[in-house]
């Protein structure tokens, strides 16, 4: 096995299909896992809470990237699909008394079904037109969860009980710690399945549709089936993220799933890198870390630049916009591409390529 990617040649299909080809890649994987295992001991509860929200966002962003980045079907309906997952899981646990894992599984399936339904316009629409159609799905779903009194028992939001694992109710003091393992486990699972999805014929057909749908149809890809499956698979991931949000935050309210959230997720995959599973994770981390880090900065500079602290939400919103513009200008392929270039630089040094 080669130490680095320079001079990797395949002698069999199996070797070409491997996820990791070099020792360096494996070493990095081990380091990532070691980091994931050590993390909860290294940060305090507040930051662990942020890490947990990153984990949930990463699952949702991976899902969105399957649809937007890999299949080329732009979607602004992310928030609505998150809401479907959250309400499904929350309701099944609170009203039907289902155990949480089963309810989350059901949420994945229901969201996949709803996503497929709202994906139907994609059979006829592309680009901007599809974006508007998915905004419609976003608004319809939010309208329903906001105004349908039965969902929330008329109180406008849904209370979800704190997580119990085999009869053990997670105590307040180790709440984030326990959740970290749940979320990290599911996030790893989501990333691994997504990575593998694109080694299968189905994943390849997603990319064929993205690159050129007519050409894809010509080589035998069933466009209807592929587009709808992309919506289903993507929404399944998003449903999982929604279900996790419900049980983790213990309050399901429509306010958490507005169109702002859809745009935020779109920003995650743009910043992270369209059409890259790892990129979705980087993007989720970046976008979720931006506001708290800015808050820390504003706090540190409070004495010298009070404006920053006084206008924090405005500063955060401006930074969010600035980040998207800068990425689109300087690295439209996102953090994933930056990371690759950094690796190449080290690998080929002292040569440029």
């Amino acid at each position: 096995m080669a130490a680095t990617a320079a001079g990797v040649f395949h002698t069999s299909y199996a070797s070409e299909l491997r996820l990791r080809h070099t020792t360096a890649e494996r070493l990095r994987l081990v380091l990532v896992f070691a980091g994931l295992l050590a993390l909860p001991w290294l940060v305090n509860t507040y930051w662990l809470g942020i890490v947990n929200t990153i984990g949930i966002a990463a699952i949702g962003a991976v899902g969105l990237n399957i649809l937007v980045g890999f299949t080329g079907q732009i979607s602004l309906g992310q928030g609505g699909f998150l809401a479907v997952g959250a309400f499904t899981s929350g309701l099944l646990v609170q009203r039907a008394g289902l155990p949480v894992p089963l309810a989350m599984l059901a949420a994945v399936l229901v969201t996949a079904a709803v996503g497929t339904f709202f994906g139907l316009p994609a059979l006829r629409l592309k680009g901007l037109y599809l974006a508007i159609a998915t905004i419609a799905s976003q608004e319809i779903i939010i309208f329903v969860v906001r105004r349908w009194g039965w969902l929330t028992g008329g109180q406008g939001f849904l209370d979800v009980d704190r997580l119990t694992i085999l009869g053990w109710r997670v105590p307040r003091t180790s709440f984030e710690f326990v959740w970290y393992w749940v979320i990290a486990g599911l996030a790893v699972l989501a990333v691994v399945t997504a990575r593998n999805l694109f080694r299968t014929a189905l994943g390849r057909s997603f990319m064929a549709v993205r690159d050129h749908d007519i050409a894809a149809a010509a080589i035998g890809v069933d466009l209807t089936r592929t587009k709808l499956l992309a919506f289903a698979v993507s929404s399944g991931y998003v449903g999982l993220a929604g279900a996790l949000t419900a049980h983790y935050t213990q309050t399901v309210t429509w306010e958490r799933f507005t169109i702002d959230v859809s745009i935020q997720y779109l920003a995650m995959i743009i910043v992270g890198g369209l059409g890259s599973v790892a990129g979705a994770v980087y993007g989720a981390a970046f976008i979720m870390l931006l506001p708290p880090l800015l808050a820390e900065l504003a706090d540190a500079l409070r004495a010298r630049v009070p404006l920053l602290a006084d206008q924090l939400p405005a500063v955060q919103a401006a930074a969010f916009g600035l980040v998207i513009v800068l990425f689109l200008l300087f690295e439209p392929r996102g953090l994933d591409r930056i990371w690759r270039r950094a690796k190449d630089y080290v690998r080929f040094w002292p040569f440029r390529y």
Partner: protein, 392 residues
Amino acid sequence: MRKLTLVAVATVLLAGCGGPTAGGDNADNKDIVVGVLADLTGATADVGKPYNEGMLAYVDNVNAKGGVNGHKIKAISEDYQYKVPVAEEKYKKFVGENAVAIQGWGTGDSEALRSKVKDDQLPFMSASYAEVLTDPTRSPYNFVVAPTYSDQLRVAIDHIAAQDPAAQIAVLHHDSPFGTAPLADAEKWIKNKGYRLGFKAYPMKAGATDHVGILQQAKAQGAKYVVIQNVSSPAAVVAKDIAAQKLDMKIVCLNWCADELFMKIAGPAAEGHLMIQPFAPPSSAKPGLQPIREYCQGKGVDLDAKGLHFVQGWYTMHAMVKGIEKTLADGKELTGPNIRAGLETMPAVDTGGVIGPIKFSADSHRGATASSIYRVSGGKFTEVAAGVTPKA
């Protein structure tokens, strides 16, 4: 490769079973930590900011005088932009910093956090006076210092019924749990009291630059009274619209728009409208305003410019601190359940007439029931009736 993944996942799961309790540094911190949720930049910031300033001023004042039994109060104030999800994040932060009590703000977040403070056993006061928060069986850790929105609206309805028994009432409300909180109770009230009043509710679009559309609907209803359950800025827009459209309607502001800001923004259009306000404005001569005025003079703050929400914040924090004082006086440790007991057993908090004495008990977390009715005349509060409670 696949084995490696499996091993890693297994390690992750195993580690989850026997980890440390990732709590903060607890123990002998002498400060009393109180989490404060504030809306400084959100939809209700116009009234949220002075309220928050009033709270922090009270804390500053107490600390300057040596604190509570020698303990300084550490108020962690966070802007949550009137967004429920942000409120939850900030709440988690407070819990992480070992807060023993929380001062909240809006109805949406107070109700969303209701089950969490019950879980975490943290006494919670808010500027939301929704009825559900006063019932200890449903909201055991919530305390409401002022008459509920429902009580305020009942007072308004009683007053309207006395003036014009067959009037049509249009309730224009914030499109949120805050806005809709008193509606069902009000309709029940009209029915139970046998009033002949008409009653219709209209949600106000957030951020609207005019409310002519809903006013047209209210006109079609034949509304003579427009009750507003919203904050001052949108309420003032309604007042201006009524004046501009020359409609024959009288506004009745419930407490979140019954303030100086409403009169200032609406200007002459505010004249003659009514206000239901449990807290005494700085322009009144209540003795309870004296300590606030003294503090403000010392700090060079203009209390009259800050307005009555500053006073409201001040006395809400006062009630919480009184409960903490009682807990310490009883020789108990400052934990959520003990502070709750302290609040429930403390003698009625005298506010020097700013708001009726605040009294909680184990069966009721309804601190006060009386509101005053004011009329705007000459850009000032003119008292119509003081200390009005809903008719028995």
